[in-house]
């Protein structure tokens, strides 16, 4: 009888009654064949693999992370709360040691959802990994957490949420932003002033094969993880790097995904994108499940896989090596970063954001206080085509007294100004969540 080396909990929730629209890639059919494949392979009968039902995330779970306008209920539906709840269930299984690892095979995805939410972008409304990570920190203590995002699209939402957090290392490998949505994730995007180097972007050229992905993993990602020493590794397991994916241009295979997972050894994996629902998902998910459980996956193979046709062009190989070296150098040099200004001053950046799924435009002014003691008080002013001017204030987990007091000063000032339609304060330090 087959036995898993690592006990694995799978939260499988295909939401067979939910779609963005009938022919949208994010539709009812998306995980149908994955379920067929996992069932036919008898995955849930393997000793050490268990299937779990997701819980439903609460509004508080979402408000711990996001500034939703006008409110949480308006920007996300039950399907999003279940998807985030599935990720939370995965985290609980691992944190409470019921399982060694967990895989939330849930939809819809979340990694394009940013700190401020006015609607859906890149098929995402709320960031399910971030909701999970902050649930972990709220209930199991402040942890150093690494998120490795292997979706083909740059996880600009996750990057935005963790831009200023020195305790979260966000690494994304994705197809180069010059060739694919959302058009971001370049090597110089390295995090805010209090978390420089804690955002790592590795843009890969179109037609990168198994060889290129695994090279980057072994030579770039694993050394950075060794240096960061996370308490937990989370894989945002998007599956659209697959050579059959209809909306991307990469050449990654199911066995490649499995190998990547075997090397990365994530504690928790959460499904992100991946829209080749017949040709890729059944095989990629099977490969990931077997690799996470420590069961032999060497017989996993797509019906149409042709290793010769998937061979990587040497020019691409050279290019990837160069990108990898650049990323490593930047990561190592980030600790010498001195250009960030004096503590107590604000670093300000302006961001225009487009919500492609809902067709919303937003403009943000994000200010973060430079601080040597904590992640720094965060203030965002946001104006969008669906909501008037809003004010967001976040007192981070482990905030110093100065940053906390500054947060309440901004709140008071914001109320007096009387120009904000909505004001929301997230105080993680004292667990105070306010809305006006």
């Amino acid at each position: 009888m087959l036995k898993a080396k690592n006990r694995l909990g799978i939260i499988f929730f295909p939401a067979y009654d939910w779609a963005i629209s009938p022919t949208h890639p994010e539709r009812q059919e998306r995980l149908l064949y994955t379920q067929d494949q996992l069932k036919e392979e008898g995955v849930f009968d393997i000793d050490g693999i268990g299937e779990y039902k997701p819980e439903v995330a609460t509004v508080q779970d979402v408000e711990r992370v996001h500034f939703c306008f006008p409110d949480v209920e308006s920007v996300c539906t039950e399907s999003h709360l279940i998807s985030a709840g599935g990720a939370i269930t995965a985290a609980k299984l691992v944190m409470e040691k019921k399982e060694d690892r967990a895989f939330a095979l849930v939809r819809p995805p979340g990694h394009h959802a940013m700190k401020v939410v006015h609607g859906a972008r890149g098929f995402c409304n709320i960031n399910i990994e971030a909701v999970m990570v902050e649930y972990i920190r709220e209930h199991y203590g402040q942890k150093r957490i690494a998120i490795v995002d292997t979706d083909c699209h740059h996880g600009d939402g996750s990057q935005d949420i963790y831009w200023n957090d020195p305790n979260t290392l966000y690494i994304s490998i994705h197809q180069d932003g010059r060739t694919l949505y959302p058009g971001s994730g370049f090597v110089d995007e390295m995090g805010g002033p209090n978390a420089i180097g804690k955002t790592v972007n590795i843009p890969l050229p179109p037609q990168t094969s198994d060889e290129g992905f695994l090279y980057v993993l072994e030579k770039v990602i694993l050394p950075i993880l060794d240096d960061f020493k996370p308490d937990l590794i989370i894989n945002s397991a998007g599956q659209d790097n697959h050579y059959t994916d209809p909306i991307t241009n990469m050449r990654f295979s199911a066995r490649g995904y499995a190998r990547l997972n075997e090397l990365l050894r994530p504690d928790i994996a959460v499904l992100e994108g991946g829209y080749s629902i017949q040709g890729a998902l059944p095989y990629v998910n099977l490969g990931i499940v077997l690799a996470m459980a420590g069961v032999d996956y060497s017989h996993v193979r797509e019906p149409d896989y042709n290793s010769d046709a998937m061979k990587q062009n040497p020019v691409i190989t050279q290019y990837i090596k160069k990108v990898g070296q650049d990323v490593l150098d930047r990561y190592r040099n980030s600790r010498n970063f001195v250009m960030r200004g004096m503590p107590g001053n604000y670093m300000v950046r302006k961001k225009p954001i487009f919500y492609d799924t809902d067709g919303i435009r937003e403009n943000q002014v994000e200010s973060v206080m430079i601080c040597n003691e904590c992640a720094g008080i965060l203030k965002i002013e946001s104006l969008s085509s669906v909501n008037p001017l809003c004010l967001c204030i976040e007192v981070p987990l482990g905030a110093c007294d100065r940053c906390r007091d500054e947060g309440y000063r901004i709140l008071k000032e914001g109320k007096q100004k009387n120009i904000y339609a909505y004001i929301q304060l997230i105080n993680r330090r004292d667990r105070e969540y306010l809305r006006f």
Binding site: Q28, E29, Q37, K39, E40, V56, S79, Q278
Partner: protein, 560 residues
């Protein structure tokens, strides 16, 4: 009139029921070396004063297949598998004659790689040389497209006395379970058929002209003709017979718990709105998971003979083992029954022996005998209650796949407890207090299993899959495969599922004229390529659920 026969591990129970109630019952010891002799003896006693012409249906629950498998006394099977990519099929090897052949079918039933002819031929040659006369042929996704399994069967041809093609066992997916189920089906085929035929002859010998039906683990029956091709469906039908008996005796209609407390174990079953809950995937036997549908039951090591122990600090434990009978029954170790006797809750067997035993054990551990007995009973009741709660939780935590079911899905919340078995009465008040639920101890529980067997109706379960892009609809379990138009709808699929299911049951000669087929669930998925809808993938699961024969519904009132 119905005749129910339950061949159990120690006893064989026979009951004859007509529309007014129980007509005759009998209990004989099971002779494991000659089950036919046991059956003959049982029937002979029971039919003495009965007009045999009136018997219209004989239902038999037998341990024959189960025992053969558990004891490893089965025939060699040549197993031919073709798995394609995925988990290495070597992991599912059963028996010595297991051959893996290259070939592949994908999840939509498309043939990706044809069966390797050379490998097939050499496997068949090896199996023949080894003297295998029964075969099993299983290919991955054969329930989506049985072509490769059928080709294997053709190739095996007359070399086999019997072949089990995997897709005929069930429409459900699970290649490993299909391998195990097909293997066991072929392994017990010869023994089961020899037995079934001799039982049939013996019944005829008694002048009974009724149809013979075989009880299944899901609490339903299958006609003898069906059982000859699916002997594996007869495994582990014993617990199901008891559960069906309680339904008949107690007219269970609400969410309820059934506890069958024996000497060694307590078996727990749960009812949802009066219907027993089915194991979602299939029952396990000899640690191999199968596709055999079964009632969901759970067994824990608490019974009347469970041994009492006292650890340091006066912690009392009960079971999970037994060291022979209790003192009350002439055994050597202090057991749970003795505690009940001491507390005067029960007065079973040698009450004085119980009292002396409890007093002695208490003295050795510096306890008051009263405390010891009370703690033992609390411990046993606690263990049963914990197991009941865990089972109910597990049932309620069963994964679901739609938002509607997740948010609105029905949860099982027991409102009633039924307790049967030797120590049932002694336990009833304690269990009622601990579970805070009304507890009922039915009369006649001694032959509940045979009553359940007698009254069980024929059940069946099928899965229909339609792919309008391919223009095919298949129901693998009953060999239906036909072309469908592009406009084939979910409603048509549901109607077809019922039609083919009932049609198949009528063909195999079912006496019950009020069969009701219900749709368990159904769904239709738009299949999209690029930005165009190319067809619909429709799935329907349909069953005739376990229950009491409709024509005998009225008899139930007379049994309690």
């Amino acid at each position: 009139m119905l005749l129910g026969l339950d061949v159990g591990g120690t006893h064989t129970d026979v009951v004859i029921i007509d529309k007014t109630g129980i007509v005759a019952t009998d209990k004989v010891k099971t002779n494991h070396n000659d089950l036919l002799e046991t059956v003959n003896r049982g029937i002979e006693n029971a039919v003495k004063n009965v007009n045999r012409d009136d018997i219209e249906r004989v239902n038999l629950s037998t341990t024959l297949s189960t025992n053969a498998i558990v004891e490893g006394k089965t025939e060699n099977v040549a197993v031919l598998v073709s798995a394609g990519p995925g988990v290495d099929p070597a992991n599912y090897r059963l028996g010595e004659y297991y051959y893996s052949i290259t070939g592949s079918i994908d999840h939509r039933g498309t043939e990706i790689l044809p069966l390797n002819t050379k490998e097939t031929d050499s496997a068949l040659k090896a199996a023949k040389k080894a003297g295998c006369k029964v075969y099993a042929a299983i290919t991955k996704f054969s329930t989506r497209n049985p072509a490769q399994e059928n080709r294997l069967c053709e190739k095996i041809g007359s070399a086999a006395d019997f072949i089990t093609p995997g897709h005929m066992l069930s429409g459900r997916l699970s290649f490993p379970r299909r391998v195990a189920t097909a293997y066991y089906n072929s392994a017990v085929w010869r023994q089961f058929n020899a037995f079934a035929e001799s039982v049939e002859k013996s019944i005829n010998g008694f002048g009974i002209k009724a149809n013979l039906n075989i009880l299944k683990a899901d609490g339903g029956t299958m006609p003898l003709a069906v059982s000859k091709g699916l002997p594996v469906e007869s495994i582990l039908s014993g617990p199901a017979a008891s559960v069906m008996g309680i339904i008949a005796l107690c007219q269970v209609t609400r969410d309820s718990v059934l506890l069958d407390i024996g000497g060694t174990t307590t078996d727990i079953a749960i009812f949802a709105s009066g219907a027993p809950i089915i194991e979602p995937d299939g029952i396990s036997l000899n640690s191999a998971a199968t596709l055999v549908r079964a009632l969901r039951t759970k067994s824990i090591g608490i019974g009347g003979d469970s041994v009492l122990r006292v650890r340091d600090g006066g912690v009392v434990s009960v079971g999970p083992d037994r060291l022979g009978p209790s003192l009350a029954d002439g055994g050597a170790a202090v057991a749970l029954t003795d505690a009940f006797n001491f507390m005067k809750i029960d007065s079973h067997g040698d009450v004085n022996a119980s009292a002396a035993g409890i007093a002695g054990l208490a003295k050795n551990n510096g306890m008051k005998p009263n405390d010891l007995a009370k703690k033992a009973i609390d411990c046993a009741v606690g263990a049963i209650c914990d197991a009941v709660r865990r089972l109910v939780d597990e049932i309620n935590m069963k994964p679901v796949y739609t938002i509607h079911e997740l948010l609105e899905g029905k949860k099982v919340a027991p409102e009633q407890v039924y307790v049967m078995g030797g120590p049932a009465k002694a336990f009833s008040k304690r269990l009622a207090d601990a579970l805070r639920l009304p507890v009922n101890v039915p009369q006649n529980y001694a032959v509940a299993n045979a009553i359940g067997a007698a009254l069980a109706r024929t059940t069946m379960y099928i899965e229909l899959l339609a792919d309008t892009e391919k223009g095919r609809m298949i129901i693998p379990d009953i060999g239906v495969s036909r072309d469908i138009p592009a406009g084939y709808s979910l409603e048509e699929a549901e109607a077809d599922a019922k039609k083919y299911l009932l049609g198949h049951m009528k063909k195999t000669d079912v006496a019950d004229r009020h069969i009701h087929a219900e749709i368990l669930d159904s769904a239709s998925f738009n299949m999209v390529q690029g930005y165009d809808t190319t067809g619909r993938n429709i799935r329907v699961r349909c069953q005739v659920k376990p229950g009491v024969l409709h024509e005998y519904n009225d008899v139930l009132r007379n049994l309690c």
